[in-house]
Symmetry: D2
Subunit: 119 residues, 4 copies
């Protein structure tokens, strides 16, 4: 993974939305619904597969293309929410990782999938 | 929105995961579940708000910070899926926008929130 | 709402599943994924509607029929999870309502949609 | 599974809601969001478990109690939607099962988890 040109990507998203006059539907509430819907469409691809099978679907071009489409939809709605909430995505991620480091101290969580409030 | 340094962000994510030996839990199936769970935590923030209220929560520092945390969690799991599926995120988004342009011709979808299969 | 003949409904569900030899796919983990997927399909119906519009969709026969189908799918997967987890649905609901009564005392929550941990 | 006394259950739900004057928040749109949120809370219990582990959690009283609570929350919101949409739950399920029988003919779907549009 390298640089991601968010400026270019987001200007394409805005053009797509403006051309269709869809901003009127894009309250943050509605965008959070659309994001959940797209996440569930990704989930659906894996629902009856074993974990092992799920790790191999990328080798099947048709399924990989479906995953790419769902990932793209999720990212598009995520960026819309980021934009409308004045969030700096990079800082948000780095801050959250720091919080997680405190919630999940290495010695307590190594090899352990328990939630922090269940230690 | 400008450049996003995915290399830096993703190396932090990988370090966090490796330090805790959590890769064993991160099948793509499980990551897709975690992504849906985090999307629903974002959804929860807005479930009883009006659309208008949802557009204003960013002005409340406490709620904005919650939104930032959920957006970060979603993006982290999305990047894990992207990485494990060998997806190029930028191409995936630009390709999907092109498909959407065909599914939603401007003249049919302007100001209209109907799904493409309901035109 | 009156009596619901779960015995009859569930025996139809079991027959459908057994006829197709689908029980092999129905771990509780997978059923919880399917339940989330179906819930999101219900969510999708309302994502671009206003709250007012959402309250009126039942007057449109085509949309009402879609809602009925999604509600049915959700209930079917819920009953599968209930059955496989040896849960008594009626007790579970009545117990949870009691817990909610304590978490949300009337005087603190009247007309207030805040979550119990935000009082 | 036997009879489920929906009349009793639903009158408890209505009393709980009315006592708190919460009906004002319960548009069908919002209820569909709450249903998705609760479904994801159930999903969260299983996200890092293997399928085999997910089938055994009912033997752990603490986890079983969590599952019961989430199942109850899902069912409560589902009944609210059913009530507000004038849906007959029993007919909805039996009709949907009939549709599924046609979408998934036994000879094509036996032992096969493919979606009907992928046959």
């Amino acid at each position: 993974m390298n640089q991601l040109d968010l400026k270019k990507i987001y200007s394409e998203i805005e053009k797509f939305t403006t051309d269709r006059d869809w901003d009127q539907f894009h309250s943050i509430k509605n965008l959070s619904m659309a994001l959940s819907v797209e996440s569930a469409e990704l989930l659906e691809i894996f629902q009856w597969l074993t974990e092992e099978q799920s790790n191999k679907v990328k080798d099947d071009p048709k399924t990989k293309s479906k995953i790419e489409d769902e990932v793209a939809d999720i990212f598009v709605y995520l960026l819309r929410i980021v934009h409308k909430s004045n969030i700096d995505l990079e800082s948000a991620v780095l801050n959250k990782l720091k919080k997680n480091e405190e919630k999940y101290p290495i010695e307590m969580s190594r090899g352990n999938s328990k939630k922090y409030n269940e230690f």
